[in-house]
Symmetry: C2
Subunit: 398 residues, 2 copies
């Protein structure tokens, strides 16, 4: 019984596919520092946990397909903090940011259509591309210039009659790049000129350091019909297990199509939405300390990384990831070897090989993505171990 | 900005698209008996609610992409009650049964492939077909013979080189049919003969009345590579808002493909899975009384329906729906009119027009789906109101 071509070819997540090696390491008694996945150790807002703990209905019922009003109202209130006036009717709540990506692709792309994505990109775009039959076409960027966007000329050379949208993550996973206003406008202008949608994945919106400004796609003028914001509570409120996200757009037709796809899956989980609403309601109280903490970790990581001989990276300006080029030929082999063979006092480190964040074949083979989701002392220790591991790995693989 | 062809054409759910009329009726002060949606009024097992209330981790973290081990173990234990030995590795937990349907279609079908579905069928199959680019091809069945499956000859005449699977719901939503062992084997034999998958949506597995036996696709011999079970806790435990389902199969390649699609969306919601595990753990204690209650409601509904002049239906044997042919030309117009215009002492009834449960154009226009999800007294009252409404509607539309 053969599967579908897409079912056979949908890629395993580079963030998760080495998990069996990590599990084995743990079974063997090792402590694994997880820098492979954006799972923060920061406490979830207690108000969110309390929302679960105080549920007291006798029946756990469906909610509306586009989301609970209490949550949509909180999302609209939240956007007012960004000087954006958003109506609850311009929001469709989704099961994680993941489903927002899928619904957006389904609403605007038919099978065979193309979406342009700055590379390296959030690897799971490939999985949703596979599901929707949409080709993810990379816009090559590089650590060498801090992953800045190429010129409008270079980008527009990639546009074909099949191109339907730009999809970008800002602040960037996996790069930590924060696009300057001029760069967001560059994509916006190209979208306007070529009749493309602008899918802006802003799940790290607050995670911007060094006092930099953040430009949301909602801050662009004249692109109301083009812009779709993709968002999630996972990172903002350290609530990855809640699986609550949303898409927001001024484009009524997209709201309607996403709602119809939403009807097919009935609704997002009810109590998780109540918790998400509590998260947004506690936003102002919660977020400041979190950003401070991540900026400190960013500094720790950057200082540690740049002190390891042969490692090339940039100073990430946002999100909580960076891409680092390692002095090895095969970063995946190194990542696996760390889990299978290398221990320092019974400890090792798990990172995500970066090649899975690229669609261009053969690119990123010597790179890893590192998530700085552990507190500074753990991060320092993990970087020490990785540095020692690199040295040993180079000796073994000269 | 034009949407995709599929985004424009994905159907609104006939279960939900009349909701704005119901909302308006309620705003106008009416009480609406909701027989349009399978949202039971039966209390969720208290053990499930308690799982939410007792969550006490500081961080609401991701779980594994294929589901929490505690839940997969409970699912395996549950299947032992059905004399089926299932390993937790043969289970992929999904966000509702909905996602199980989507992952199964993605794993086995490429865009343009076809899936054969006995008609009328669970309407949301069309939404997932749209998402996956898969054509839902109906196997016509009729209320006139209680929605029994056609002969093997008639079914095989529908198989084309594009056909990849049978997808069927047993016990049946929206029909209430329970396929006899011989019928399940008929599909199984055709699947074997033609190299097709057998996707068996068994979310109503326990809901079988009059002492009838239930045949799971897992009870068929020699079809290990063909069978994929789709399941959910929504109906079994009156926990529609939990959005926890799973697919189960002996076919390792499907488990792997579904897991990779699962990695793209990271994981099902964490606390909801803990609650679902508590639901399965309380199964034996919970389910018996529920089935008794539904059988009683089934009797009430059937007796009421058959006493309304001009209504044709069958005695449903399972699930908690039935299809009824009404003495009207346009059942959707009737359903809307009930919400907009008809009240008895300030009360009215919402049913789902059945045409959206058919893929064959023009079929089912005079039919509705009725969900018997309310307790018997409410159900009787709702049927009285519908009977009076039908009489008045016929007078107005002779």
């Amino acid at each position: 019984m053969r599967l579908s071509t897409r079912g056979e070819s949908v890629p395993a997540s580079p963030i998760r596919r080495l998990v069996p090696y990590a599990d084995q390491a743990k079974q063997g008694g090792a402590h694994v520092f997880h820098l492979n996945i954006g799972q923060p150790d920061i406490p979830t807002p207690p108000e969110m946990i309390e929302a679960y703990r105080s549920f007291s209905e006798p029946v756990l019922a469906y909610g509306p397909s586009a989301g609970l009003p209490v949550l949509k109202n909180e999302i609209a209130r939240y956007w007012s903090l960004w000087d954006v006036e958003l109506s609850p009717e311009e929001v469709v709540v989704t099961t994680g940011g993941s489903e927002a990506i899928l619904f957006a692709l389904l609403a605007i792309c038919d099978p065979g259509d193309e979406v342009l994505v700055p590379e390296p990109f959030y690897t799971n775009y490939l999985g949703f591309g596979s599901a929707a039959g949409v080709r993810i076409v990379p816009i090559p960027c590089s650590v060498d210039n801090g992953f800045r966007l190429p010129s409008a000329e270079k980008i527009s050379a990639l546009i074909t009659p099949k191109t339907r949208a730009f999809l970008y993550c800002n602040p960037g996973n996996p790069t930590g790049v924060v696009y300057q206003k001029e760069e967001v406008m560059r994509l916006g202008n190209l979208a306007s000129e070529h009749g493309l949608f602008l899918l802006s994945d802003e799940v790290y919106r607050e995670f911007v350091y060094d006092g930099m400004a953040f430009t949301s796609a909602f801050h662009l003028d004249g692109l109301e019909d083009h812009v779709v914001i993709l968002d999630s509570v996972s990172k903002r409120y350290s609530a990855c297990g809640a699986r609550v996200g949303y898409l927001a757009t001024r484009n009524k037709a997209i709201i309607e199509a996403a709602t119809r796809y939403g009807q097919a899956r009935l609704c997002p989980a009810t109590i998780d939405q109540l918790a998400a609403a509590a998260g947004f309601a506690s936003h102002e109280k919660y977020i400041g300390g979190v950003i401070e903490e991540y900026q400190e970790r960013r500094d720790v990581l950057y200082n540690c990384l740049t002190s390891i001989p042969g490692v090339e990276t940039h100073r990430p300006k946002g999100a909580f990831y960076t891409i680092a080029r390692l002095p090895v030929k095969d970063a995946e082999a190194f990542a696996i070897w760390m889990l299978t063979d290398f221990r320092v006092d019974g400890q090792t480190v798990m990172v995500a090989p970066a090649s899975g964040f690229y669609a261009t074949p053969g690119v990123g083979l010597d790179e890893v993505r590192i998530a700085y989701v552990l507190e500074s002392e753990a991060l320092k220790r993990a970087m020490d171990i990785m540095g020692m591991g690199l040295k040993r790995f180079q000796e073994l693989n000269p």
